[in-house]
């Protein structure tokens, strides 16, 4: 029987995968994907818990997260495009003119 804890474990694993993605990826686009993965991991958790408590709030939260993730991507990609125009690269390591 698949219970709440299984969902939560899956969610945690996906979240960690996303986190590792954020840490390891050098391409900004990939990085954005990784954060999306993390947010979606949270969605899984919310949906599962919502079901567990028989309470709709969690699912509402999940919907909001989806919406926000979408707008985040919109804004993020916009910034990425101007950055790419200016720098011609999306590599993180090229992006270190300010330091110290």
């Amino acid at each position: 029987m698949i219970g709440l804890s299984h969902y939560l474990i899956v969610s945690a694993i996906i979240f960690s995968i996303g986190l590792v993605g954020v840490l390891r990826r050098r391409n900004l686009l990939m990085l954005f994907f990784a954060t999306e993965v993390m947010l979606n991991a949270v969605n899984i958790a919310f949906a599962a818990i919502s079901h567990y408590y028989n309470d709709l709030t969690g699912q509402m939260f999940a919907f909001f997260i989806i919406a926000i993730a979408a707008s985040e991507v919109a804004v993020g990609l916009g910034i990425l495009i101007v950055l790419f125009k200016k720098h011609g690269s999306l590599d993180l390591d090229d992006l270190a003119s300010m330091r110290g």
Partner: protein, 496 residues
């Protein structure tokens, strides 16, 4: 079958939503104006924004304390009112800084002002609710708008700053969402007052402590990022440097006020529940933040970057007050920011007037100390004013930040954290060095480059704003009393 939902309009108490709606509507009006006539001057938008904020301010003033509305999602308590007032007030003195004598193209876009208003609405949502969803939505609304505002400054540094801020912000959002999920899992609720009730009953269940700690950590990471606490502060110097000077000044105050309100609600809840661990972690982080940011600020070559580190340090200072979790501690947060706001915005505005449209001072920095060398000979009043801001930031009485500082320290002493007060005192002493460094450059050194480079960007509105900030900084002693008693009243009224 589901019953149809009957909701009376009255029970929605829509008035609690009015301030945010005004801001959003104002943003839309500006966009519509642009559709009708695309050639309007930025001064119109600036004034429009001020007017809208003025109405917003009035709407907030008109709210009653301790009300709920809109399906009990909105929470209008004392701190939400005072924080909204501070957010709007701060924004009102920020926005005229767009009226520089040189044209910076971001201000000629009406979108800038619309986004700005949306951002304010986002902050207002953050502070006026104890629902985690709405907090999340508020944070993201405000942040996404802010990322864009930074990027609009159209310099390669600005894009870099925006990207850094954005990426880390997205990670923080994920942490916040995960934290909320854990809280939800623990309590079955995302309304903080219910969360507190449920958690109080479950505190003693075995094995749950790790989940409670875990939830607090996830939320803490998210807010530490917002508040730029060590080690989540790394974005701040770069973003401040990349953003335009006024925006950097703005970022060091207003978003932090909003984040602090949420932090008071969240972590105050944990500490009230008796989870001392959270207090300890916050205290440690606060001390680390103020100390490390201070010593990093010592070695900066650029005034703007120095101010960035200094505002990190100030945030650490205030975070310590939050950990006290006393009414005085919470009052201290608001008092400090109220007093810090003028000085800090004033200081950044002073940087702003020295900004050249294209030319930078040198390859790496735009506001190195050398730029201000001998300012007293070039622009005596400017030097005096900047000197006053620096002394205020250093905590020299009777300038404004000093009163905030002693209030925070007094709160620490009263809560029995004398060591904390001493750490704060020593940190203020370290901090004095880098503020003094600028004073030394301005007053005690001779100019290094051509004398005309310093005030390209000055204009009447900027002078008015700086004058206002100066008066507010110098005359703080006279308005601290009403401010303190109002803040204290509002905060104790809302039970914090």
């Amino acid at each position: 079958m589901l019953e149809p939902i009957h909701v009376s309009l009255e029970s929605l108490n829509l008035i609690t939503l009015a301030p945010m709606l005004i801001a959003i509507a104002g943003g839309l009006i500006i966009l519509i104006l642009d559709l009708i006539n695309g050639k309007l001057h930025k001064s119109l938008y600036v004034m429009m924004t001020i007017l809208i904020l003025f109405i917003d301010f009035g709407a907030v003033l008109g709210l009653n304390v301790n009300e709920r509305g809109f399906f009990d999602v909105m929470l209008i308590d004392g701190i939400s009112i005072i924080s909204q007032l501070m957010i709007i007030g701060g924004s009102m003195i920020f926005i005229p800084l767009a009226l520089t004598s040189k044209r910076f193209h971001e201000y000629s876009y009406p979108e800038f002002f619309a986004l700005f208003l949306f951002m304010i609405a986002g902050f207002q949502f953050m502070v006026a609710t104890d629902n985690l969803i709405l907090i999340f939505v508020g944070i993201e609304t405000a942040s996404l708008a802010l990322y864009t505002l930074i990027a609009l400054h159209n310099r390669s540094n600005s894009y870099e700053a925006a990207v850094k801020y954005f990426t880390m912000g997205a990670l923080a959002a994920a942490f916040f969402a995960m934290g909320s999920a854990v809280v939800y899992a623990l309590t079955g609720s995302i309304e903080l007052y219910k969360v507190a009730e449920v958690m109080a009953t479950r505190l003693n269940e075995t094995g749950l402590m790790i989940a409670i700690f875990g939830s607090s950590v996830l939320l803490l990471v998210a807010f530490s990022f917002k508040l730029s606490l060590f080690p989540f502060h790394t974005w701040a110097p770069d973003v401040y440097e990349g953003a335009s000077a006024p925006l950097a000044g703005y970022m060091s105050v207003i978003p932090k006020i909003a984040a602090f309100v949420v932090s008071i609600r969240l972590f105050g809840m944990y500490i009230d529940l008796g989870v001392e661990w959270v207090r300890i972690v916050i205290l440690v982080m606060a001390v680390l933040t103020m100390t490390l940011a201070n010593i990093m600020a010592l070695v900066q070559n650029d005034v703007k970057r120095m101010l960035a580190y200094s505002s990190i340090s100030h945030a650490g200072f205030i975070m310590a007050a939050l950990a006290l979790d006393t009414t005085e501690g919470n009052t201290a947060i608001f008092l400090y920011y109220a007093l810090f706001m003028f000085t800090n915005l004033g200081a950044f505005a002073m940087l702003w007037i020295s900004r050249h449209k294209k030319r930078r001072f040198d390859k790496r920095y735009d506001h190195p100390y050398e730029k201000f060398a001998g300012l007293v000979q070039i622009m005596p009043m400017g030097a005096v004013v900047m000197g006053i801001f620096m002394l205020s930031l250093a905590g020299v009485p009777p300038f404004s930040v000093f009163w905030g500082k002693i209030y925070v320290m007094q709160a620490a002493v009263n809560a029995g954290y004398i060591w904390l007060a001493i750490v704060m005192a020593l940190n203020s002493a370290i901090a004095a060095y880098y503020y003094l460094k600028l004073v030394v450059y301005m007053f005690l050194k001779d100019p290094v480059k051509d004398v005309d480079i310093v005030y390209y960007n000055i204009s009447k509105p900027l002078m008015v704003i700086i004058g206002f900030a100066t008066v507010a900084t110098v005359a703080a002693i006279f308005y601290v009393q009403p401010l303190v008693s109002y803040l204290y009243y509002m905060i104790s009224a809302s039970g914090y």
